[in-house]
Point group: C2
Chain length 235, copies 2
């Protein structure tokens, strides 16, 4: 491969990277604004998050097409091909995170009509902030091809899982204390579980970055901390 073709490929990768970073920025914003509008019962803010998801989806489409174009045009092999396939995975994870943020925003007008459940909005916002910050680092790790930073993101998923577990138990308690809390708690729990899943998706992205850099997927040694499958409270 000549120098000329190689740098054309590098430019292709930079174009794709710019699209992924742009998409990631929009997803970061959707997570934060989604959680803030929920806490503030700000229905306009929530509607903006819902509408913004279309732009995120369109960017994934554009990344898919651009990557396919580059593969067809440059016929990359080994590391280059691995990078391109990883970019597709990154975009797919971002798209799913965007969906979860949209789902949070969809529930905001409903929850706005109900009594807030003592402090759980703020706990959700903190959890969302943590996921947004992990995503920001995962995107940096991708741009800088920094496997150590990606590994650090991966380890932080435990904190999100612990926040989720604590919230799950709070919801159970509030529901048992007063059945009038049940509907709101069901919605809030949905949202909390989705934020926890966003943490898993960022973790997937961090693992994809490690794979991109090292050629190997990290081992399955990340402790899974969702202990709610074992909750026996209230029997």
């Amino acid at each position: 491969m000549t120098q000329h073709i190689s740098s054309a490929f590098d430019r292709d990768l930079e174009t794709l990277q710019a699209l992924v970073v742009k998409m990631g920025g929009l997803v970061e914003n959707a997570i934060l604004e989604g959680a803030k509008s929920l806490e503030a019962r700000d229905i306009d803010g929530a509607n903006a998050v819902r509408k913004g998801d279309k732009v995120i989806d369109a960017l994934e489409e554009q990344i898919n097409e651009e990557a396919a174009r580059v593969i067809a045009l440059r016929a990359p092999v080994s590391k280059d091909l691995r990078t391109l396939l990883s970019v597709l995975k990154l975009a797919s994870n971002l798209e799913r995170m965007g969906d979860y943020a949209k789902n949070m925003a969809k529930r905001t007008p409903i929850l706005a009509e109900m009594q807030p459940i003592n402090g759980t909005d703020a706990a959700l916002r903190r959890m969302s902030k943590e996921v947004q910050s992990m995503l920001s680092d995962a995107l940096d790790a991708y741009v800088r091809l920094d496997a150590d930073l990606a590994e650090a993101v991966r380890q932080r998923d435990m904190d999100v899982d612990q926040m989720y577990n604590a919230l799950f138990r709070e919801f159970l308690t509030f529901m048992m204390e007063d059945p009038r809390n049940i509907t709101a708690c069901m919605h809030m729990h949905f949202i909390a579980k989705n934020v926890e899943r966003m943490g898993d998706l960022v973790t997937n992205m961090a693992e994809q970055v490690i794979y991109m850099v090292t050629g190997e997927m990290p081992d399955e040694d990340r402790p899974k901390m969702d202990s709610t499958a074992a909750a026996r409270t209230g029997q």
Copy 2:
């Protein structure tokens, strides 16, 4: 491209297809057996589903590697490349369905210690059966490149959504009737939502098959029937 190379590529596609069909069969089995063991409180059955997920994950890995190998070796363009990238998406959707089935199995030992919630196990089993049957058709549509069959699968997702909505309301009612039902209902609701998501994933697969055959993604005209975001019961 010579006839010789073209048929080598066809053989590559067949190899990949065989892997996807095998993976799909395992996922179908995991969904059905997951739901059956839950209904029967069969912990050994549930454990088998949990363990089986490793095989499903390994198959996705194998499909990823094989597809990358084919792309690097054959440098496919246009329709051929589209087909290969679609195969990666099919495998990724199957892997996520496998995870949901594993999650259902993980909750079975916990639910086995609780009072069953009046008929909801059977409703979950029927919902799972419907998703498994949709998956079976989606795989057939992929093998036969049958866009009409894929479109039929896509339309059936509404039934799954309706089953889920009905269950969601039942859970709310059971929880309000008796707070001792809350923990079991939270777990059952988790599972129901995951089965509903499996329906969405099969729908993604059907859309991918349509894209593979026609080169175009179907429009977003599929009515979304998850109306629980609007549930205001119990205020």
